[in-house]
C-alpha cells in the first residue's frame, strides 16, 4: 500500500511571541513539525507496519527539518515542494498537494486535522475535494481490516464510527497513538533516504494556479475585556444585596 503523509513546519507554539507594536510575530522563532501532522505520520507508519508498502512524507514550503524528522521516524522517502510564495494560503497548499498526489496516486493520505499557525483545518478537506476522494476528518481511532478502514471520529457531542475504503484522505487528531521518537538508527538511516525536490512548474502549476484566496492583513491582539465586578470576602447577605443591585441597575430583573 502506498501511503502519503502531509506535514508542515510551523513556528514552535511554545516559543511564539507576538509583538503588539509591530503587529507581527517576534522574528527568529524556531520552526517545528505541526503537532497533528506528527500524529498523522505515526498513523501512516503504523499502517505500513501492518500492511506493508511505503510511506512518502511530503510538504509544501520550507520544511527541511520536518521532512528529516519524518524520514528519521521511518518514512521511506520525502518530497519537498518549494517555490516562491509557498506554502501560501490553505487553497494554494491544497492545490499544490493535489497536483502532486495526482501523480503519486497513494492509497491513503494522512494529514493533520489543522496546523497550529493558520489553523484553518481546510487543507485536508480541500485536497480530498480536488482529488474527488472520500474524506474522514477528526480521526481519533482507526483499524484497517479486510481492505476497509473502521474509523472513530470525534464530533461535537460524541464519537462517530465510520467505514471507508481506500483511496481516502484521513485527518488526524492528537487522541491517536503518540508519535514515536526517531531511533538513532532511524536518524542515521534518514541521511541515506531519497529526498525529491519539486518546483510547482514541475507539477504543471503556473503562477495562475497559485493565487491565494485569502489576504493576510497582519495580526492583532484581542481587545482586553474590562474586568467584571467581583464580590468577595463579604457576608452572604451583603453579597446577595450587591448582586441584586447590580442586576437591577441593568434592568435585568424584569
Amino acid at each position: 500500500m502506498k501511503i502519503a503523509a502531509l506535514v508542515k513546519q510551523v513556528p514552535d507554539p511554545n516559543a511564539v511571541r507576538f509583538d503588539p507594536r509591530l503587529g507581527e510575530l517576534v522574528p527568529g522563532i524556531q520552526h517545528v513539525v505541526n503537532e497533528y501532522d506528527l500524529y498523522a505520520l505515526e498513523a501512516a507508519l503504523r499502517l505500513r507496519e501492518q500492511v506493508g508498502g511505503e510511506v512518502v512524507v511530503a510538504s509544501v514550503g520550507p520544511a527541511r527539518d520536518a521532512l528529516n524528522r519524518g524520514l528519521a521516524m521511518g518514512a521511506d522517502r520525502a518530497v519537498a515542494i518549494e517555490g516562491e510564495g509557498l506554502p501560501g494560503d490553505a487553497w494554494v497548499t491544497a492545490t499544490v498537494l493535489a497536483a502532486w498526489l495526482r501523480r503519486e496516486r497513494p492509497d491513503v493520505v494522512w494529514c493533520g486535522q489543522e496546523t497550529s499557525d493558520s489553523g484553518t483545518g481546510s487543507v485536508g478537506p480541500a485536497v480530498a475535494a480536488l482529488l474527488e476522494l472520500p474524506l474522514v476528518s477528526n480521526v481519533v481511532g482507526w483499524e484497517f481490516r479486510d481492505g476497509r478502514f473502521e474509523i472513530e471520529r470525534e464530533i461535537e457531542d460524541g464519537h462517530q464510527f465510520q467505514e471507508v475504503e481506500p483511496p481516502v484522505v484521513l485527518c488526524a487528531l492528537s487522541a491517536l497513538p503518540q508519535p514515536r521518537l526517531p531511533t538513532l538508527r532511524g536518524i542515521m538511516d534518514a541521511r541515506r533516504k531519497p529526498v525529491e525536490r519539486l518546483a510547482p512548474t514541475e507539477l504543471d502549476l503556473g503562477p495562475d494556479a497559485l493565487v491565494p484566496l485569502v489576504r493576510w492583513e497582519g495580526l492583532r491582539q484581542p481587545v482586553a475585556k474590562a474586568a467584571g465586578v467581583v464580590v468577595q470576602d463579604v457576608p452572604p447577605d451583603e453579597a446577595v444585596e450587591r448582586l441584586l443591585a447590580f442586576l437591577e441597575a441593568r434592568g435585568l430583573l424584569g
Binding site: 517545528v32 528519521a72 521518537l181 542515521m188
Partner: protein, 432 residues
Amino acid sequence: MSQERVEVIVVGAGPAGVAAALTLARAGVEVVVLERGAYPGAKNVMGGILYRQPTEELVPGFWREAPLERAIVEQRYLLLTEEDAIGLTYRTPAFGEPPYNAFSVLRAEWDRWFAQQAEAAGALIATEVTVEDVLWEDGRIVGVRAGEQGELAADVVVIADGANSLLAQKAGLARDWRPEEQALVAKELWRLPAEEIERRFNVPSGQGVAIEAFGAATGGLLGYGFLYTNRDTLSIGTGALLSELIEHEVNVSDLLDRFKRHPAIAPLLDGAELVEYSAHLIPEGGWRALPTLFTDGALVVGDAAGFVNPLSREGSNFAMISGKLAAETILEARALGDFSAHALSRYWEKLEKSFVLQDLETIRDVMPFVRARPYLLRDYPAAFAHSLRHYLTVDSTPKAQKYRAIVETLLAELGPSRLLRDAAALVFRLAR
C-alpha cells in the same frame, strides 16, 4: 542487527559541544551531535553574555551575521543593601566599535545559529535524543545508549551535556556533585521597547549595559544578581550557591523577586512585560571539583567539566574553547589511530596552556575564601553604605567630626583590622 557507527559522537548541542562538532566537521570528521532538546538552545536559559575574541577562534567575523542583541559598552558593579546601592561603572566607546568585546545574546537564538554553522560544515545534529549512558567494551567507552532510541557506536564520545553531567558520572569520570559546587540561577526575560532601553540605560542604538549586583541582591548569600540589556528585552536573574540556599532555606525565585523590587533596580524594569522565566544550574565547584577530563574513548567539555569562572561570570568562552581543544585532541588521536586515554591526555596539556585551566587555578581559593567569610556580602555593603550616607549627607556637621564618625562606623561594623586583613588575603590569593 549491526550497530550504527560514526567517528565521533558529541552529547549536547550547547556552546561546548557545537564548538567541538564544528572543529571536527571542518576537518572532515564524521560527527553526530545528540541533543535532548527540540532544537539547539531549547534547553538553554535565555540571556547571556558572549565574548567576541574566543568566539572568533571558532567563527571568525561571526558578529557580522550572528543573532546578537547588543554590544556591551558599559559594565556596572553594584553593592546593594536593603535599600541603598553603591556602584562602580566602567564604560568605553571602544567596546561599541568593531570588533567589539562582548555582546548580550538570547541563548536560544545564538545556540541555534552556532549549531547551524556546525551543520553547514557537515556535522549531523540530531534533536530530541536523550542519551542515558555510555557503551563499554573492554574497559573503554565505545558509544552511547539513548534508551529506547537505541545505541550508536563511535571512536570517541565528547561529553558536553552541561552542568550536573549525568554522562560524566556514568562514564566514571565525575563523582556526584555537592550543593556547594553548583549555583542555582533564576532568570527572567522582560520585554521593553528598544528606544526605552536606550533611554533608560543611556546607550546608543545597538549598544548595551551589563550589571552585576552583590550583597542584598542575593540576600547576602554567595552569588549575585545580574541584568543585561538585549535588543528589546532585559535579562534579569539572581543566582546563589545551592548549599547556601539550602542552609538559609531560601527560594531562589524569592531572591529574584526581592532583587527586582530593589529601589536601584525596580525603575529599570518599570513598565516592562514578563516574557519567560526559568531556572538553571551553573557549576561553581571550579578547580577543586574538576572531574577526570578524559578516559579511553571519551572527553569532557564545557559545563559538564565545570569550566566556569564565577568571579568574572564567564562560561560560554570556557565552553567553546574547551570544545575546540577537545576536537583538536581528537584530530591528533585520529591521525595516530589511537583513542586511548594516553592519546587523549593531550587534551589536558592543551587546557593547561590555555586560560581555561589557568583561570580556574587562579581563582581556586576565591569561593572557599568568600564562603569562609559570610559577612563579606552582608556586613560590608551595609558598613560602606552607612559611611557614604554619612559623607554625602550635608547637615552642617564639621567635616573632621564626620570623618571620625565614619571611621568609627567602619570599625564598629566590621571590627578593627578585618577590612585590611580581608583585602590583603584576597589580593594574595589572586596574585600569587
